[in-house]
């Protein structure tokens, strides 16, 4: 797996020839990423007859371009209407949506595009250079470490997404319990299903996402004529091209922030199953921790938007590392890529880099070229996309409800899933109105099945000894870090109160 610069240059020149595949994939990816229920994975599945018929290299370029652009597309509705297109964009509205409400939606989109493009581009190049070392990250993390990482994820989200840590933790752990619904993976016993057969295969994520974010938001926004504040409306009416350029300038001025938060995304992306949602929240939390103005996060703070957008695009190249190096896909889209490549007789693993380096490094070159082309194709659209925010809630709410509910139906084609999305809508509405963050519930639902699987694996290996969760050195370090991450903010708050009282 030695790196050869000549191969690097040849690969990029060669991949540019596929612009005719990359450009349509970019626009398709943006559309499917922006619509909840339409993920890159689903679209690649729908288009399997096409990708299987293409040459493996062209098929791979198409899938990678679609994957990268859908990641960016998911941030668009998250910023404009507070509805993440996918779970990976769940941290984006924390500061993106307040910016929109202030009439800075166009600027927020431009910042998101620049952060995504440069975060994605940078991590793709870093992945190419650091492939041999990155591939080892996954080897150090076993079931016990993954349990702590999952709980870490929940506690991070609880402390950052919610203003009240206790309520954030309740939302996160409630989400985990919902994620536990379904038949037991070992004994097939139905648990917490209320007798619904449709829940035996766990709680489907798209109805949860649609309900918690879209339906609940649609019911909440009808109180106002528009999602924009009065000042926001005035600012929006005055907005011109300068807003896009200003957004690009601001994002570029945060170059250092883009670099380190996208690297966080890359490292987390390498861990199979960890995913973009965790990466985005970890990056957001780290960004806030090291910020001089942490109190501004959640109010439309630029760094609060840059961090999750850079990180979730950093994940994109990271998820391909375990796929190509050890044949373990890091996410759903990577798993489908594996199926397509195996169909063409391509075997993943270290041998691929020796026998077919063009194909092994090809996805990263395709990703880099995709991000490069996106700079010129997507940024100009920010001005027109942001106009959606001036649409009255009278029209917007019913459109959101009908289209996203049908989106909840698409993945499994069960009518039940639409009712389920409505139930999640009610939960989300109550959560929004009473200060429990919906993102914490959603991340719990996502992590629940993973946490349970790792728990079961660890217990099986230890023959049922519960203390196994404290049996690894790395795991114990992570436990201490988890305890500190919960205790430190509380202790700091206590000290501030004492000082204020004195």
């Amino acid at each position: 797996m030695e790196f050869d610069p000549t191969l690097f240059i040849d690969l990029f020149t060669h991949t540019f020839q596929f612009w005719w595949v990359i450009l349509p994939a970019i626009f398709l990816g943006l559309v499917v990423g922006a619509i909840p229920g339409f993920s890159a994975a689903n679209t690649i599945i729908i288009l399997l007859p096409l990708t299987l018929a293409l040459e493996p290299e062209i098929g791979l370029v198409f899938m990678v371009a679609l994957y990268a652009s859908s990641r960016m597309g998911a941030g668009i509705p998250a910023i404009l209407v507070n509805i993440p297109g996918t779970a990976g964009a769940a941290a984006t509205p924390l500061d993106g949506y307040p910016m929109t409400r202030q009439g800075r939606g166009q600027q927020a989109l431009a910042i998101s595009f620049v952060s995504s493009v440069f975060g994605g581009l940078l991590t793709t190049v870093v992945t190419l250079l650091a492939m041999p070392w990155l591939s080892e990250v996954a080897f150090y993390l076993h079931s016990v470490e993954m349990i702590v990482i999952m709980l870490f994820g929940i506690s991070l989200i609880a402390t950052i997404a919610a203003r009240d840590t206790l309520k954030g933790l309740i939302a996160g752990f409630f989400g985990l319990m919902i994620g536990y619904i379904g038949a037991d993976v070992v004994y097939e016993t139905p648990r917490g299903t209320f007798g619904f057969l449709e829940l035996y295969d766990k709680v489907p994520l798209i109805p949860a996402l649609v309900g918690l974010f879209a339906v609940s938001e649609a019911f909440a926004v009808i109180e106002g004529e528009s999602i924009l504040s009065r000042r926001g409306k005035e600012a929006m009416q005055k907005a011109g091209w300068s807003e896009t350029f200003e957004g690009v300038r601001i994002a570029l001025s945060k170059w250092w922030h883009i670099i380190w938060t996208s690297i966080i995304g890359l490292v987390i992306g390498v861990v199979p199953g960890a995913g973009a949602a965790i990466a985005a929240f970890v990056a957001y939390q780290q960004s806030r921790t090291f910020s001089k103005t942490p109190e501004l996060y959640g109010t439309g703070h630029i760094e609060g938007l840059v961090a999750p957008e850079s990180a979730n695009n950093g994940v994109t190249s990271g998820t391909l590392v375990p796929l190509l190096v050890i044949g373990i896909p890091g996410g759903a889209t990577a798993a489908i890529m594996l199926v397509v490549l195996q169909y063409h007789g391509v075997t993943m693993g270290p041998d691929l880099f020796m026998e077919n380096p063009e194909l092994a490094y090809g996805p990263f070159a395709a990703m880099a070229v995709t991000y490069f082309l996106m700079i010129f194709t997507i940024a100009p659209l920010a001005r027109y996309m942001s106009r959606i925010t001036v649409v009255s809630t009278t029209y917007m709410s019913p459109i959101i409800i009908s289209f996203t509910l049908v989106g909840a139906f698409v993945p499994r084609q069960y009518m039940f899933d639409m009712y389920l999305a409505l139930v999640f809508g009610v939960i989300g509405y109550i959560a929004r109105k009473t200060g429990y963050h919906t993102a914490a519930i959603l991340i719990g639902v996502i992590l629940g099945p993973l946490l349970e699987t790792y728990f079961l694996r660890a217990l099986k290996m230890s023959e049922g000894d519960v203390m196994v969760i404290f049996s690894s050195n790395l795991g114990n370090i992570l436990w201490v870090a988890l305890a500190l991450s919960l205790a430190i903010p509380y202790l700091l708050q206590l000290r501030q109160r004492k000082r204020a009282a004195a």
Partner: protein, 178 residues
């Protein structure tokens, strides 16, 4: 007595006192989570211990957190700085009828989409919901918008993306014609 927003009216002496927080709404989600956790424990009572551990671990933490919240709210109520009214959950109260009607329409949308199909149900739902929210104003605009959105959705999702949305008379007719 209540004011226009449904909030209790107070006399001048009371209004000089600091406003009490209404925390009853904040208890709804934890109570639901608590009951669900108990139900979940009930469903795993008979399974082997190895399959119970993680749910008991997470569920117990959740219950402890809920109890801590209960204690915190209880202290505030006892101190007189808060009460158990639903507060923000139902405010502004003048939107309750509209919101309930929209919820009813949404239930109807899900119920009928299986028979009427995507295009017709979206058209009917959008028309009714928009008229409800606009209080009957701009009917022409609403009907046109509902028509454009439902046909546009049909062309994008069903014709272009070949998505398997619920099919009804319109989709079947179009499939026969195309």
């Amino acid at each position: 007595m209540t004011d226009d927003n449904g909030s209790p009216m107070t006399d001048d002496n009371e209004s000089e006192q600091p406003e009490r927080k209404s925390l009853g709404g904040e208890l709804i989600l934890p109570i639901g989570a608590f009951l669900f956790t108990l139900y979940y424990f009930y469903t795993i009572w008979e399974v082997p211990r190895i399959a119970q551990v993680s749910a008991f671990f997470v569920g117990t933490i959740l219950i402890v957190l809920i109890i801590l919240l209960g204690i915190r709210i209880g202290k505030e109520v006892k101190a007189g700085t808060a009460d158990l009214r639903l507060g923000r959950l139902i405010e502004p109260t003048n939107y309750i009828p509209k919101r309930l009607a929209l919820f009813g329409l949404t239930l109807g949308f899900i119920f009928f989409v299986d028979w009427l199909g995507f295009t017709l149900t979206v058209f009917v739902f959008l028309s009714l919901a928009m008229m409800l929210l606009s209080e009957g104003k701009r009917k022409g605009l609403i009907l046109s918008l509902a028509g454009i959105m439902s046909i546009g959705g049909y062309l994008l999702f069903i014709v272009a993306f070949k998505t398997r949305f619920p099919a009804g008379p319109f989709e079947k007719l179009m499939a026969g014609l195309l």
